[in-house]
């Protein structure tokens, strides 16, 4: 009898845990929003939400690509460097107009991603190491291209990307939202997406099932590079300057954190796009809350550490014993 009740209790707890694992990040975002509504001055203003979304947009775009890579059991440490590369190219070609400049930045991002993918898929190097090389060298290259200089940008059309609105919503937020939808469809509905997840789940089996493993991997890293370049372009437009020395600094860690906090495990085989978006929003709100309450850097870093641990603890894959 006691045994039975114990079982029932156990199942209930398991169910709660499962539910939290699935929806934890949404709960956390909601909780943090509530906290801010009550304890943060001037939180409930349109301008504030706008700020949070605008700041989150580039991270979100990078995190989308990162989520795909993590889904294949990989990781891409070079995203920040790719952002810097993209940024360094903008001023060189802005003279020819914003479209060619952006196009070149994106092509280079795509190429950098493809290179990573090639190293991972064809040469067979561990993703961390393969992308570490570009993390170390990429920013240096960007600085070489830019001559180490920050360049102020004045092209109105280009800057519009960073400051402009469309139907009352900032353009960068539109782009991030649109890309999120595209990625969700890509993962959920396309051959490519399903293959990606299968490869992350069991690479040997996928290869034996005739899936084009290498091509898919290259594709995934290429998309990640491309998205990093998009983020680089948007961040540059928002800053109204090309700043290869600092743009995207530590972006890889922010993006990975967001993806993992959003419930995508680093072990691959699963991609949660909505979770990732909320992971980004959660971390953005955490940062905003810490700044708005004027906490010193030391406390802020320790609080962030604690939040990451708790969020990931809740979202972790459980083993049944």
């Amino acid at each position: 009898m006691t045994a039975v009740t114990a079982t029932a209790g156990g199942i209930d707890r398991a169910r709660v845990a499962r539910w939290l694992q699935e929806y934890g990040v949404y709960v956390a975002v909601a909780a943090l929003l509530l906290f801010n509504v009550f304890f943060t001055a001037n939180f409930l203003t349109l301008g504030n939400f706008r700020t949070q979304l605008v700041q989150a947009a580039p991270v979100c775009i990078v995190a989308l690509g990162m989520a795909l890579v993590i889904g294949t059991e990989g990781v891409d440490l070079s995203v920040g460097a790719v952002m810097a590369l993209a940024a360094s190219l903008i001023p060189l070609y802005l003279g020819a107009g914003p479209v060619p400049a952006i196009a070149i930045a994106l092509v280079v991002g795509l190429a950098a991603g493809t290179f990573n993918g090639f190293l991972v898929a064809h040469v067979g190097i561990q993703p961390i190491v393969a992308t570490l090389a570009l993390l170390v060298g990429g920013r240096g290259l960007a600085l070489v291209i830019a001559n180490g200089q920050l360049v102020q940008l004045h092209d109105k059309t280009f800057l519009e990307l960073g400051t402009g609105d469309l139907a009352g919503i900032p353009i960068s937020v539109w782009i991030a939202g649109l890309l999120s939808v595209v990625m969700a469809l890509l993962v959920g509905r396309t051959t490519f997406g399903r293959r990606l997840v299968a490869i992350g789940g069991n690479r040997t089996a996928s290869a034996l099932a005739g899936l084009p493993v290498k091509a898919v991997l290259v594709g995934v890293y290429a998309i990640c590079g491309l998205l990093a370049a998009v983020a680089g372009v948007l961040a540059t437009a928002r800053l109204s300057a090309s700043d290869p020395a600092d743009i995207g600094m530590l972006m890889e860690l922010s993006a990975i954190t967001a993806v993992v906090v959003g419930g995508t495990a680093l072990t691959g085989g699963r991609v949660r796009i909505l979770g990732t978006v909320f992971g980004v929003i959660l971390m953005q709100l955490v940062r905003a809350t810490l700044i708005k309450h004027n906490l010193p850097d030391s406390t802020a870093q320790m609080v962030q550490a604690a939040i990451i641990v708790v969020a990931v603890y809740v979202a972790r894959e459980r083993s049944t014993r």
Binding site: A41, F43, T51, L150, R238, L239, S240
Partner: protein, 333 residues
């Protein structure tokens, strides 16, 4: 170059003159006292250890100034050794040691940090090589561990920024501080100087201080947050120009009028910031002068000539405000 000439010529004449007179402080140091050999600067092997990548205007101008002055003095390019520590303290130590190995007879060092260079200084001392530290003072002993420090007084810069702040705000308002990187003593000094000076004016209070890591985009992001939660901020003190410019972008986006509704004062003197002052979107910039070339070599020459070298050689820091920004734009780096 013309720019250096300008700087040198302005020493002691601009509005900054009083604060930036390169007066001797502390007992002097002489060749005799140290027992170092006399070295002819023009034919010596000179080593310059830069601390960070040349990826911002200050560092670029600083390295360039050393190189230019060496060229001007006719020092052969293979006799000027230049290293860059890439923000790695251990690397700076081995950089310095390796330049000593390679026969450097005179050293100019831009320390990455005030503390921690002792092993490198000891190595120089062992080889009787005088070390001039520039832009950042180290905590070791002058004349024994190193020859002298040439640079700005960061606390003083903070104070001057505060004085400017009082001037441009008329002595009332709420100030937000954009701090530099945590753990960096430039940040510490500029904050201390600013706060100490500001405390003398009752009408001004600091309502927020958050780190922008000396980075434009971080400064912008932090400012965006602050302006939302504290819409009554009327002034911003940024510990470098980059963060100040980031703040300008943030304020504009929030519908504020930087330079008018919200006053901005920062430290550095980069072209972009001074241009903003000239355009009226920014209130004042306290210069942190990176052109150490002429002074460094002059000090080394004086030392070789047996003259007395003071412990601190303060480089003159200029100041830009609405009255002089447009004329002095060429002077910004």
């Amino acid at each position: 170059t013309s720019r250096e000439a300008e700087t040198t010529s302005q020493t002691g004449s601009g509005p900054a003159a009083s604060a930036a007179a390169s007066q001797a402080s502390g007992p002097g140091c002489t060749l005799e006292k140290t027992g170092y050999p006399k070295v002819d600067v023009k034919s010596a092997i000179v080593g310059f250890s830069q601390s960070e990548k040349e990826a911002n205007p200050f560092r670029i101008a600083e390295t360039q100034s050393i190189k230019d002055e060496a060229a001007k003095l006719g020092i052969a390019s293979d006799k000027l050794l230049v290293t860059n520590a890439q923000s790695d303290l251990n690397k700076q130590i081995s950089d310095i040691k390796s330049m000593l190995d390679r026969g450097a007879q005179l050293l100019i060092v831009a320390p990455l940090n005030s503390d921690g260079l002792q092993p490198a200084l000891d190595a120089a001392k062992a080889k009787k090589v005088p070390v001039v530290t520039i832009d950042r003072k180290v905590t070791s002993a002058a004349c024994t561990d190193y020859l002298t420090f040439i640079g700005s007084n960061f606390v003083e810069q903070g104070k001057r920024a505060a004085a400017e702040m009082v001037r441009v705000t008329g002595g009332t308002g709420k100030v937000a501080i954009l701090l530099g990187s945590s753990g960096n003593n430039v940040t510490t000094d500029r904050t201390k100087g600013f706060k100490d000076e500001l405390a003398k004016t009752a009408g001004l209070s600091v309502v927020a201080e958050q780190t922008g890591e000396f980075d434009r985009s971080k400064g912008q992001a932090v400012m965006e947050q602050l302006i939302q939660s504290n819409p009554d901020i009327t002034a911003v003190y940024a510990e470098n120009d980059e963060m100040g410019i980031g703040a300008v972008t943030a304020l504009k986006a929030a519908g504020k009028n930087p330079g008018k509704d919200v006053k901005i004062v920062s430290i550095d003197g980069t072209k972009n910031a001074v241009q903003l002052v000239a355009d009226g979107g920014y209130n004042a910039v306290v210069e942190s002068n990176p052109r150490f070339g002429p002074l460094s070599f002059k000090v080394l020459q004086d030392f070789a000539d047996g003259k007395e070298i003071s412990e601190n050689v303060v480089i003159s820091d200029d100041q830009y405000d609405e009255t002089n920004a447009s004329q002095k734009l060429g002077n910004a780096y």
